[in-house]
Symmetry: C2
Subunit: 364 residues, 2 copies
Amino acid sequence: MRVADLDTPALLVDLDIMERNLRRAAEYAARHGLRLRPHTKTHKIPALGRRQLELGAAGLTVAKVGEAEVMLCAGGKDLLLAYPVVGARKLERLIKVARRTRLTVALDSLAVARPLSAAARAAGVEIGVLAEMDVGLGRVGVSPGQELAGLARELQRLPGLVFEGIAFYPGHIKRLDEDGRQALRRVAVAAKVRGVALRRVGIEPRCVWGGSTPTLFESHTVPGVNEIRPGTYIFNDRNTVLSGACAWEDCAVTILTTVVSTARSGQVIIDGGSKTFSSDRLVHPEENGFGRVVDAPEAVFWNMNEEHGFVRVDRCRKTFRVGDRIRIIPNHVCVAVNLHERIYGIRGDFVEEVWTVDGRGKLQ
Amino acid sequence: MRVADLDTPALLVDLDIMERNLRRAAEYAARHGLRLRPHTKTHKIPALGRRQLELGAAGLTVAKVGEAEVMLCAGGKDLLLAYPVVGARKLERLIKVARRTRLTVALDSLAVARPLSAAARAAGVEIGVLAEMDVGLGRVGVSPGQELAGLARELQRLPGLVFEGIAFYPGHIKRLDEDGRQALRRVAVAAKVRGVALRRVGIEPRCVWGGSTPTLFESHTVPGVNEIRPGTYIFNDRNTVLSGACAWEDCAVTILTTVVSTARSGQVIIDGGSKTFSSDRLVHPEENGFGRVVDAPEAVFWNMNEEHGFVRVDRCRKTFRVGDRIRIIPNHVCVAVNLHERIYGIRGDFVEEVWTVDGRGKLQ
């Protein structure tokens, strides 16, 4: 099948770019002695998880129990659920996952750890745990000093659980400019505080997890980190380019759309909006718009409704007519993929792969 | 099953409120002699389309060919596809839909109408068409005077197509305050311009379509309108309340979430973010946040990542612990429903219906 034969909107993955992105991260990790455990929430496709494992990933990361169930099909034997699992129904399903793979869960409280411990113990399985520390995002995670040491010590005592180490997520660093580098230095300081506090109570963690695509290639500068779990790097997106972590040529995903109306002068309407791209704004507040038009970067994708994209084309040399196809790099590829039933792997003009997004909508 | 037995995040529909919303719109339409043709993009569930038809809807509205295919199961015999259909593959599928139901398509150009005419003629089916006019949103639609009259005249001549009338969408009116009422008066002026221009070329349209939930109950004030196609009114959401078209008690949908972390003082993290609610901001720029916490309206759902909701609770009298459940009215219910595989119809503490969102992700 040719790309020209695909109906729109369709999410395309350039297979050569994806492969290059995967290899680049794998080589970086190998060079610095880091274990790579890609976060599969970006693609939610077992075949792509399998490819990441083939290229040397130490295991895979997921965000939800439902994603873990899907990612078992990738064939890996080592899953990290980087999310606090709460509730009896989820624990029941989690135990089934833990019977089939080595499983580690990141959490930040005994309120989450105790029921997990009880469930693991009752089922006779062992589940690894990571203590999550906050390094500046203010989301989950305890503070890196005494609070972390206290949590780690308690986790070591809980039956059914194996204390594996520390997780953190520097998701507050959106760009590696001067501010970003300063924030990264503060992360390094937090890592040192963590080291001191843990040694004081006699704990030497086996794993220290960092990772996030914008800071991916700086992971080796944070003391003690030995595993990373970036997600977006497989595809990259407009946010990643603006973060400074890659170039436009490294964006593997484009969304193919069709012009359906040119009624308003200087503007075209395309057949994709918030149900195709998601309404995620850029994380860089000084930039705007909902995507980059690949063949006409001077076009401005300035507004969207559910099924309509508003693209200003008054500065484009090219003229657009109804039926013309426009390819767009989305702001945030993880939420865009999650809106598509299938996505298409292409090489040049040809469609070589059709993947079902098996993890789509696995919210629980 | 009880609501307490549901895992989270889960999208709940209060069946009594939904029923009241449906009846209120049906009664309004009947009182003013308007035909009601609900836009099913909000729920994407054939069973709910069927309920709308039972309550007197003249037919259903969809946004995509894929949604039309799904909504055939609602059993109606009259579909409006309120979207320009472009491309041979879509036309092929559209013809199949047209063989099974009366079908009308809204469009704004001959570039869309001519291939539709050719496809209908070749297949020996008749497809209704509406000429779309722009009344201020600046999305699709020609201007209401000569341009509209010219398009309508051409549409009347195309074989295979039956010219049905005029469609417009006052989606730029977000609130019925003084500005909104002024904008509505301009829509009424546009409607008069439309009437004069069409009569001048001897056209008396059978249908004139308006509709949009914020202006729903003002539809009778726009001259000539005899059909309306609101979508959101079945559930309502935070945008609808802030538009002035309904009260909080009329919001049928809440998203049930669980607190998974309280690590940061004054804040809780819930197990739903942009993949559960969508990242749609409010259409009212002076308000912010991503939803209203039902039992603690003073809580502020101020930020989200893909699977994390950040809720500030420092002004709440209530204290929140890990495992507590929080119900939230989303900003925009149409994009939220589209993220869920299943949604749950509840009465009080009991789950009475489980619906698969069959139209979810039908982007083409």
